[in-house]
């Protein structure tokens, strides 16, 4: 089985936000929820760099560990998913997540945030694959159709890679060798306790 990962080649990201738009459109994510976002460090200054970030589907995921109702599960492809039927909207996963991935439809109202929403690696949820019930809660299930996440598929500069960790790491390594530079796999050390030697 594959071990699914995201890899943002930050030397290629041009902050076009196509990944963000593709994700929102594909899954019909409501206003206020962003499963993926692009962050620019040192914006407008020397050393500026943009990175696209979403749920990294961590190894030994902190969100799953702190959830008081154990609503998270990891698929055979190592994608970290959750059940909105079991989520009570306590917000703990957001405190534990190193990447700010969990999103909530509401704020305030005595902390009634509603059911948590996050990137599913385009793999839906616990409902039967590609059913309406699954789509309404989690969006489309592209993995079940044999396709990879749309954010990476639509990336205009092929900065964002999604797929089996070993394959995308190999693609990245080849790029680094060919062009002669690379800033590393952002977030990999935090998410997977490993990094790509380049």
């Amino acid at each position: 089985m594959a071990r699914m990962k995201f890899l943002c080649d930050a030397d290629r990201c041009i902050e076009c936000n196509a990944c963000v738009t593709a994700c929102k459109n594909e899954h019909e994510v409501p206003w206020g929820i962003n499963r993926r976002r692009v962050i620019t460090i040192n914006d407008g200054k020397p050393g500026e760099r943009s990175v696209s970030m979403a749920c990294m589907h961590c190894t030994d995921a902190p969100c799953a560990a702190v959830c008081p109702t154990n609503c998270f599960y990891t698929t055979a492809d190592a994608v970290v998913l959750h059940s909105k039927d079991l989520c009570i909207g306590c917000g703990y996963c957001f405190y534990a997540c190193p990447f700010g991935a969990p999103q909530y439809p509401r704020v305030g109202n005595f902390g009634s945030r509603g059911k948590m929403d996050k990137c599913t690696f385009c793999a839906g949820g616990p409902e039967a694959d590609n059913t309406q019930a699954e789509f309404v809660k989690y969006g489309t299930n592209r993995l079940a159709e044999g396709k990879l996440p749309l954010c990476a598929e639509m990336c205009s500069t092929k900065s964002l890679l999604a797929g089996d960790g070993e394959i995308i790491a190999q693609i990245y390594k080849e790029r680094v060798v060919k062009r002669g530079y690379g800033s590393g796999a952002w977030g990999w050390r935090t998410a997977y306790r490993e990094t790509i030697a380049t």
């Binding site: 962050i39 702190v66 305030g108 530079y181 800033s183």
Partner: protein, 339 residues
């Protein structure tokens, strides 16, 4: 001629400007690779370097939710360790430890009796309003404690017994109860602070009381006013602990409100958790002394009156004050002497 000179002046000016621009441009902006190719992002920030400078990476994003502009906060993993390892251990040791101490204490000491027996004469200890405030706070506390412990221990203790669907239904209602009952609980703590602070300022009597081991650990009957040192301790645990859980609880209930950062939310959860489990342990001790630990104590908060001999044994100075005010009552229905 003048036109020619002006043209030369302009040309020199342009050259000087160009030289200045070239000199000012950072020489390392376009580093070359060993093979002569150019690295266009050589000066851009790198992850390891950012983590050396600070413990999280934040930038700019175009979303209205500015929390989304934090790229990475590995501190979440520390918070995970606290909530999954540190807090359950503190909670288990404090609560199970307190229960063990109470069981052992009961086996050795048993119920502390009214030594002189009941006199039949009663004295009012807590009026109706005081009892209402106490029981409102106590009832809220029990629900808050159970629903709070459920967050830390529920998935290990209860979830395997009742299954995920039933557990989520219960946890969801427990969360609502925890959020809404915090309001009457906070009002109760404020009223407790105001109505009993007069009798709860530590003084010299408390030193002597503690030296003799009070009325429950020791066997003497050190004098005490309305509240002895042990009760003062419970009072200040309720007031200070109640304030701590209330403040951190409202921070958690209104997430990120008023500019609270993720570090602020994590810290609030840490304080709320630790104070919460210690509070539960302290209240177990309070419930023990108020029920099976001491004869005649429960009535104080039950009917509001205590037996005169109980008061003499545990609160001698207070009883004298009450007697001086003429507040000790003969039991209802008994004939009074004629003279």
């Amino acid at each position: 001629m003048t036109a020619f000179l002006a043209r030369i002046r302009a040309a020199v000016g342009v050259l000087v400007l160009l030289a200045a621009v070239i000199a000012a441009a950072p020489s390392g902006a376009q580093q070359k690779n060993p093979d002569g190719s150019v690295n266009p992002t050589a000066s851009a920030v790198r992850e390891e370097q950012l983590f050396k400078e600070m413990d999280r990476i934040t930038g700019r994003c175009t979303l209205p939710d500015q929390k989304a502009c934090t790229l990475e906060q590995p501190a979440g993993r520390d918070w995970r360790y606290f909530s999954q390892v540190t807090l359950p251990w503190i909670g288990a040791i404090a609560i199970l430890g307190m229960l063990a101490v109470l069981v052992l204490f009961y086996l050795f000491r048993g119920m502390v009796r009214i030594e002189a027996g009941r006199s039949g004469r009663t004295v009012v200890r807590f009026n109706a309003f005081e009892r209402f405030v106490h029981w409102m706070t106590a009832a809220c506390f029990i629900v808050l404690a159970l629903s709070g412990l459920n967050i830390t221990f529920g998935k290990d203790l209860l979830l395997p017994l009742i299954g995920p669907d039933a557990f989520t239904t219960w946890a969801q209602w427990a969360k609502y109860a925890h959020n809404y009952l915090s309001f009457p609980f906070t009002i109760g703590v404020v009223l407790i602070l105001l109505m009993w602070i007069g009798g709860n300022i530590p003084n010299r009597t408390d030193v002597a009381w503690v030296k003799e081991g009070g009325g429950i650990v020791g066997h003497g009957h050190p004098p005490a006013k309305r509240f002895n040192a042990g009760q003062k301790l419970i009072y200040w645990i309720v007031v200070i602990g109640g304030a701590a859980v209330a403040i951190t609880g409202y921070i958690l209930m209104f997430p990120f409100w008023g500019g609270t950062s993720i570090v602020g939310m994590q810290t609030a959860a840490v304080i709320h958790g630790i104070v919460g489990v210690l509070f539960v342990a302290a209240m177990l001790g309070h419930i023990y002394i108020g029920t099976i630990g001491m004869e005649g104590a429960f009535e104080a908060m039950g009917t509001g009156t205590v037996d005169e001999n109980w008061a003499k044994q545990h609160h001698s100075l207070w009883l004298e004050e009450e007697k001086a005010k003429g507040k000790v009552e003969a039991p209802a229905g008994r004939m009074q002497p004629a003279e």
